[in-house]
């Protein structure tokens, strides 16, 4: 029923339109559908076998309502003070800044090595595999490692978090680099320009909007990570208060307030990123 068409048109069935059913399936389409279908099947299977702990949905949603209510409609500073929380928030933002800036700096140079249109395939593949490996080591482990080797504190937090930042950005940056047209690169190569000048004079200006966009996404993730595990390294940031009010006091009101603070930062971030992106894109 399904007729595959390979890229050589000669092998195509000669359609006899009036009698035979005309199929429009092609090989890539078939693969795409197989993949999606397979994933859907896996999804169905896992949804059906999902352990729901005899959940009564009506009850669950009712309790969800109460919890959300006390979290988001009655936020309060709890046992901590505004002063304390805001200072801690600043520390979290600073952590995210540091990890993002460091990550972006290192990632750019590594990404040049990981881009297929600039580097030999073996190097690009090796770097990509190493980065995938780094990404699969949980952040908390990185933080542990560095709080043991250099003591608790911001140093450990920043270094621990920067690993994932680099690994993620290398993937993103190198894909952006791979998207720059090879013709443009070739144009400079043809006039005898060396490797690094090409990277800085040709590739960098062309991909700045993409870099900006990725870096801001990562900033957002870094901020979330700083909150989630920065406190574990003893960076004494807002994550500590979130952890305390959440895991130790189950104080929904304070958690609500902290979530509001975090969302506030996220919104500001999104606005800044939209402005900057707009600034660059409008010139196109």
């Amino acid at each position: 029923m399904i007729e595959n068409s390979s890229t050589t048109p000669k092998t195509l069935p000669q359609p006899n339109p009036k009698t035979k059913r005309i199929s429009m399936m092609t090989r890539p389409r078939l693969i795409l559908r197989t993949v999606l279908g397979g994933l859907t099947l896996v999804t169905l299977y896992s949804l059906l076998t999902l352990n729901t702990a005899n959940l009564k949905l009506s009850e669950a949603f009712k309790s969800l309502g109460t919890n959300l209510h006390s979290m988001f409609l009655q936020p309060s500073v709890g046992q901590d003070s505004w002063n304390l929380l805001l200072t801690a928030l600043t520390r979290s933002v600073s952590l995210a800044m540091l990890t993002t800036l460091l990550g972006a700096l290192f990632a750019f140079f590594i990404a040049v090595g990981a881009a297929r249109n600039l580097s030999p395939t073996w190097l690009a593949n090796t770097i990509k595999a190493v980065m995938a490996f780094i990404r699969s080591i949980p952040t908390i482990l990185w933080v542990l490692i560095y709080s043991v080797t250099m003591g608790l504190g911001a140093n450990a937090a920043v270094v621990g978090l920067t690993f994932h930042s680099i690994a993620y950005l290398v993937k993103a940056y190198s894909e952006s680099i791979e998207e720059t047209s090879s013709d443009t690169i070739e144009a400079l190569k043809a006039s005898g320009v060396g490797f690094w000048p090409i990277v800085f004079q040709a590739i960098l200006p062309s991909i700045i909007p993409a870099l900006l966009s990725w870096t801001f996404i990562r900033f957002e993730i870094n901020f979330a990570n700083a909150v989630a595990v920065g406190a574990a390294a003893g960076a004494d940031d807002i994550g500590y208060y979130l952890f305390m009010s959440g895991s130790f006091y189950s104080n929904f009101h304070e958690v609500g307030l902290i979530v509001y603070l975090l969302l506030g930062v996220a919104v500001i971030l999104e606005l800044v990123s939209m402005r900057l992106r707009g600034h660059y894109l409008q010139k196109n």
């Binding site: 901590d80 542990l144 709080s147 250099m150 406190a231 390294a233 952890f243």
Partner: protein, 327 residues
């Protein structure tokens, strides 16, 4: 000769460390919460005692805290009993020097309570004669706090292991082995909520964390078989659970967590100075660190009587917890 040579060498590098700031690490276990006021006062008094600058470090990760004190990157720490045993296991340099005394100012009852509780309506099922026991909890749904908690995990599992003579702790933590289902509440409150909502049949948690939400309606916090009721003014997540009752079918004393130092990275001199300062009467009357009798202000330590204070302890005193952990 070479041994002494390396010895002096490591000594000199260690002494260089010793001149530097003293790092104090807090892991927020059941007994040490986030009281920045108390922490600052602590810092001041250590600085006063040693004449050195003190750096306070908080961490939310159990492993990080233990590795920090065990590796000597931190010199002083306040930990739960279980955490201390782990740190001591990794490095014998970690030694306890002070813990909170009982109301009499002694170590005799320097404990708080960990419970195994069930809902009141099911309580009869757990009666062995006219006394409550945990004999019937096998095959039930169990809720712990988290697997790093002393009172919400270590002590209850030890009790169960003893009662049922189970060797492998992993049996108690996996679904469908000893228990039909194992839950983790994430916090003491969470574990209690698991029980109150009926998601778990049996739950473990401690007294201090539930006091704001539960009140003994029969018996008291110190009596086995007491009944506890959710207070009328209980906050979320207990708001929907008002009036529900639970019964403790087992009550285990948990040793107060110790203050420890790393004897390698903290000079003898400083060790003595800090220990002396902490166990002094003046220290216990510091209003920033101890909430004074009758006062409601939340501080790092609660003081029920004037006699209560920090008191000197050694590794030996933690023998019972050593036994529980198995090393």
């Amino acid at each position: 000769a070479s041994g002494t040579a390396t010895g002096t060498k490591s000594d000199s590098s260690a002494s260089k460390d010793k001149d530097k700031a003293i790092t104090v690490v807090f892991y927020p276990n059941e007994s040490a919460k986030s009281f920045s006021g108390s922490r600052d006062a602590l810092k001041k008094s250590i600085e006063k005692a040693t004449g050195k600058t003190v750096k306070l470090q908080t961490t939310t990760d159990y492993n990080v805290a233990i590795q920090a004190i065990a590796s000597g990157k931190a010199q002083v720490a306040y930990m739960g009993a279980n955490g201390y045993i782990q740190a001591n296991h990794i490095s014998k340099d970690v030694q306890p020097f002070a813990a909170q005394s009982d109301a009499e100012g002694s170590l005799k009852k320097a404990t708080y309570n960990s419970y195994i509780m069930v809902q009141q309506k099911d309580a009869d099922k757990y009666k062995d004669g006219d006394k409550y026991s945990i004999k019937n909890i096998k095959g039930k749904k169990m809720s712990y706090v988290s697997n790093s908690s002393t009172s919400g995990f270590l002590v209850p599992t030890a009790e169960i292991k003893r009662e049922f003579n189970v060797k492998d702790e992993d049996k108690l933590t996996q679904n469908g082995q000893f228990f039909s289902k194992v839950l983790y509440g994430g916090s003491h409150q969470g574990s209690a909520v698991n029980l109150l909502k009926g998601d778990a049949d049996v739950a473990a948690f401690d007294d201090g964390d539930l006091m704001p939400y539960l009140k003994p309606s029969e018996g008291s916090w110190d009596k086995l078989g007491s009944t506890f009721e959710v207070k009328d003014d209980a906050e979320a997540p207990f708001t929907d659970l008002k009036g529900k009752k639970v019964v403790n079918i087992a009550m285990m004393p948990v040793q107060q967590g110790p203050w420890v130092y790393n004897t390698k990275s903290l000079s003898k001199d400083d060790q003595e100075k800090i220990a002396k300062e902490f166990t002094s009467k003046e220290f216990a009357s510091n209003k920033e660190i101890f909430s004074q009798p009758g006062s409601k202000a939340a501080k790092l330590f609660q003081r029920k009587t004037d006699k209560q204070q920090l008191i000197k302890v050694t590794d030996k005193w933690y023998e019972p917890t050593h036994k529980l952990v198995g090393y």
